[in-house]
Amino acid sequence: MTDYRQDRSALPKPSGTYPPTEEMLAEPVPDEVQAAQAERLRAAWATPKGFRYWTAVNNSEVGKWYCLTALFFMLLAGVMALLIRAQLAVPESELISADRFNQLFTMHGSAMMFLFAVPMFEAISILLLPGMLGARDMPFPRLSAFGYWCFLIGGVFVIGSIFFDAAPRAGWFMYPPLATEDEGPGSDIWLLGLSFIEVASIAAAVELIVGTLKCRPPGMRVNIMPLYAWYVMVVGGMILFAFPPLIAGDFLFELERSFDWPFFDPERGGDPMLWQHLFWIFGHPEVYIVFLPSIAIAAMIIPTVARRPIVGYSWIVLSAVGTGFLSFGLWVHHMFTTGLPTISLGFFSAASEAVVIPTGVQIFAFLATLMVGRVKMTLPMLWIAGALAIFTMGGLTGVMLALAPFDFQAHDTYFVVAHLHYTLFGGMVFPVIAGVYYFFPFIQKKQLSERLGRWAFWLIFCGFNLTFLPMHLTGLWGMPRRIYTYPTGLGWDGLNLISTVGAFIIAAGFAVFVWDLVRPKHRQPQIKRNPWEAGTLEWTHDVPEEAWGIRSIPHVTSRYPLWDQPEMQARIDTGRYYLPDAAEGRRETLVTSVIDAEPIQVQRVTGPAWITQAAAAFTGGAFIFPTFHWYPPAIVCAVLAVCCIIYWLWTSTARVPEAPSKDAGLGLTLPTYASGHASVGWWAMWITMLGDATAFASLVFGFFFYWTSQDDFPPEGAMHAEPWLVGLAALGLAAAWALTVGARELNRRWMVGAARACLAVAPLAAAGGAAALMVSVLELEPETHVYPAVLWALAIWVTVHAGAGVIMQLYCLAGSVFGKLTPRYDADIWNVSLYWHFQVLAALVTCAVMGLAPGVL
């Protein structure tokens, strides 16, 4: 074996036969080989037992916990809805106090959105996606686990506040000044708790996008991957661009709450409208983030039921992408009554209506599939039928609401409450339950009860319509949303009572559904392998369950491989395909190229660990302690979180492999290490940084928003950031970037010493630049006016990012010194220079805004 420190050859390229020939695939694998391979795989992928079970990071375990936790939060939020309905059953009821009611509806909305709808998508996708793609696991299992533990901690913290009468109470939209002026920790719990969860959501989105792009089985080009994977990519992308504006908004909001910086205070140059814009730039795509994954579930169920491939595959993909894009241009329809100019209202009315078209195309593609198929009605399909009936209604009232004049009347009334519940029940709850019935055999290897399923369906369906159909009228008769009670004599009494009765029927339906889900099923036989006779890869799963995900990773040549490649199942099971073995006892999955899915690398994925929980707990502490203004423990937690993450990365990611390449099966030899854009880590960094850049762009948008909307921005005689210091900051940060990129280039040219020198100087340049930037605003008083406050916010943003960049540079330096980063195995420094590409851009934009603005404004 050669010493990799001396070996100057580049990383090996994939070599051998690809694609596999029919003879290779037809050649049997001897039984004893099969058994030995299976034994090794089983050992490598074994789920920890006993107490250590909770260290599992495998997608099948984490996905399950994730789903159950999201379901639990949904049930809690549902109970809150029942309390709300109980209070509104009769006029002038005194069952619940006004303040408690406001906490309840705020938490109901926040929890349903942030603790159920979005996490549920991520949970289901983490659980199902690897199966659909024939992958062993997600590319970053520990990241999934980290995301899950963050979600659990943050979710319990946020929803738990309601039990202490300390919950946020300014509405799930948190409009300032009501929310900024609110006393008590409620608003801070919302801002910090949910920001924490949003970070976890983004982590999951990154994971899912990379999983879809890089972990497909060989041969599964993008145009034959399951529609679900397309939706995952679209929705992941939307999360990436939708959540950061909200995070930027949260950042400004929390600065106002904690330090009285007047971003939304009109008396000191701020503007509550900025929050509304940032919130709805997030909030509207959010609706489609919730809706599209459910359509994706329908897109998996319908071909199975129709027993033929989906028709209009490319139409559906195009529509999903189109919906994703359009959804970012509609946010103003949540603000039709804020007095915006008529021309904007017209534009956003039309844009909002336009989204009907891609939605319609998707629905008609499903109808067309049923039309040309031979339909076999099953229980999941019943739920899809219910979804369609309810969703089309919500869609049609949406067409009405998108007409600005009609919205002037209906906005903030029960008509909108009815509309949004129709879209969300029809567009999310029903399809997800359909998915639960459909995928339950895949997840638990048991069937849910047909009889209970029908009971649950009819109870929820009837209860739902009883609750929400009358609400359209309640709203048109003038009942506003978010009122804790109402006087009699306005015609609302009877309608509200009906809605309350309906709500309890829905609850009964959910009780049946949940019972079916959790009732003991020991005595029930395991299902046969592909109970619905579906055509997609997840149904090659092992019954009884095996933790390895898939026995060997197949070569896929069609959209419905189980229908079109009849020998596939047997070949997977006998280990005829790729990675049938775990010779080194390591967990591995295959990485393929983005478009054509040609195998390029054997990716070592991480296994069980406690460090992810520790990292999540300390990250949680860093977010949660500031809620109570306990800053010292928060800082300690932040430092410990960073330490945990560094330890986690150092010990388990981009490790130098024991051999540069290995046999992946079927005569193919693949490298065991990749750096730059061949590696999954680089893609993850790219995608994360897109989100980060979006948040930064939102801050810059804020600056220009104030400039255009306020007369006194900057106020007369205002102090500006010291220009020469800003210039110095630009120089320092640009130098830090240049040195990092230089280190990467020197390192790969075997000039290791020079690279180390660059990496040693770069942090000094970065720290100097960031310090200059902070000093440039030091004299400014951010409490006095929004102009200095926004400059401070930008400076803090850049400084914190520079800080993270410094840690990364030092990490690479340490890697180089301790042999983790070598000229050949240099993934870390590729990722770090990618990070710095984005940061130098953000730094230069910031410096341009801060340094040049005084001259221009």
């Binding site: 409009y175 503007d271 009347q409």
Partner: protein, 315 residues
């Protein structure tokens, strides 16, 4: 349709009493019919395909269905609908015919100023909007601390009220009558109790009313009312409330100069009978949680009755 319109409901957007509300109601009625038809078509197609039909249809029907149902039909319908609905948008934002009403949203009541055409100073009142029928009145809206929304469903759409930013809306009522308006943007604990009476009057009646409203308060006549006035003074009510023509000049709470002639009390919380006045004074905090006004339950029953008599007399 008759059922939907629900005549006699004071706060119904379907019971249109003005030009703007009527235009919007027409849009709703037409889209409602269209929505029902489309819903039946889509769901009927689904039911037929999954339940009634057994043989698969030929693939050549796919493309027409996708293009027709997914693109052509919705495009045509939506373009028509948008052209019609957006064409009424400018009317909904038309300037008024002369009278301007400035309304400020407070937590949780309405400060109201009438600015007749060419007026130098406003006629100040609170918690009630009166409008002349047959002409367009412009509202200039803002808010004190948090966002509210100004809405009289029977007359037209709503408009949000912001602190530090003026918004405008105009309404053209036609049918005289008594309607109810309510805050539509969540504004804190007692959001539910931020309403007002909106009275549309024939023009002459309105002019007469406005002239009365501009005058000072009438002096109390009965002994109870005089005792009430003395209590009003000694309890310090004038620190927050103004009663023009007296020493009460407070600006924190609603102007009470003509409170006795209003239709409601406590921003639509109660009616305006003598008993309502008594209830309001003695149970303020219960009736309207976290309201700024203290509850005067330390006063005796007789004292409260006196105060109520005085206030009710402020016609």
């Amino acid at each position: 349709m008759a059922l939907l319109s629900a005549c006699g409901k004071d706060q119904s957007a379907l019971d249109a009493a003005g030009v703007d509300a009527e235009a919007i109601r027409n849009i709703f009625m037409v889209t409602l019919v269209g929505a029902c038809i489309l819903w039946v078509l889509v769901n009927g197609a689904f039911y037929t395909l999954t339940r009634l039909r057994t043989d698969p249809l030929d693939d050549r029907f796919v493309r027409p269905l996708l293009i027709g149902g997914g693109i052509v039909v919705p495009s045509v319908l939506l373009i028509g609908l948008l052209a019609w609905a957006l064409s009424i948008l400018p009317d909904q934002r038309a300037p008024g015919d002369g009278l301007q009403v400035r309304v400020t949203g407070e937590q949780w009541w309405w400060r109201v100023e009438y600015w007749p055409d060419g007026a130098e100073e406003p006629i100040v009142t609170a918690n009630e909007i009166r409008l002349p029928a047959g002409q367009r009145t412009e509202f200039v809206l803002d808010a004190d601390r948090v966002i509210h929304s100004f809405w009289i469903p029977s007359l037209g759409g709503k408009m949000d009220m912001f602190p530090g930013r003026e918004t405008r809306v105009s309404l053209h009522p036609e049918r005289p009558g008594r309607y109810r308006g309510q805050c539509a943007e969540f504004c804190g604990v007692s959001h539910a109790w931020m309403a007002f009476a909106a009275v549309v009057m024939p023009e002459e009646e309105f002019d007469a009313w406005l002239e009365r409203e501009a005058g000072d308060a009438v002096a109390p006549e009965s002994a109870e009312a005089m005792r009430g006035e003395e209590l009003f003074r000694s309890e310090g009510c004038g620190a927050c409330h103004a009663v023009r023509g007296t020493e009460a000049v407070g600006q924190v709470g609603p102007d009470l100069t003509h409170v006795g002639s209003r239709e409601t009390l406590g921003a639509g919380r109660l009616g305006a009978t003598l008993e309502d006045f008594e209830r309001w004074i003695a149970h303020t905090g219960e009736l309207k949680p976290e309201v700024l006004m203290p509850t005067y339950d330390h006063l005796g029953e007789a004292e409260i009755a006196d105060m109520a008599t005085y206030l009710k007399g402020l016609k």
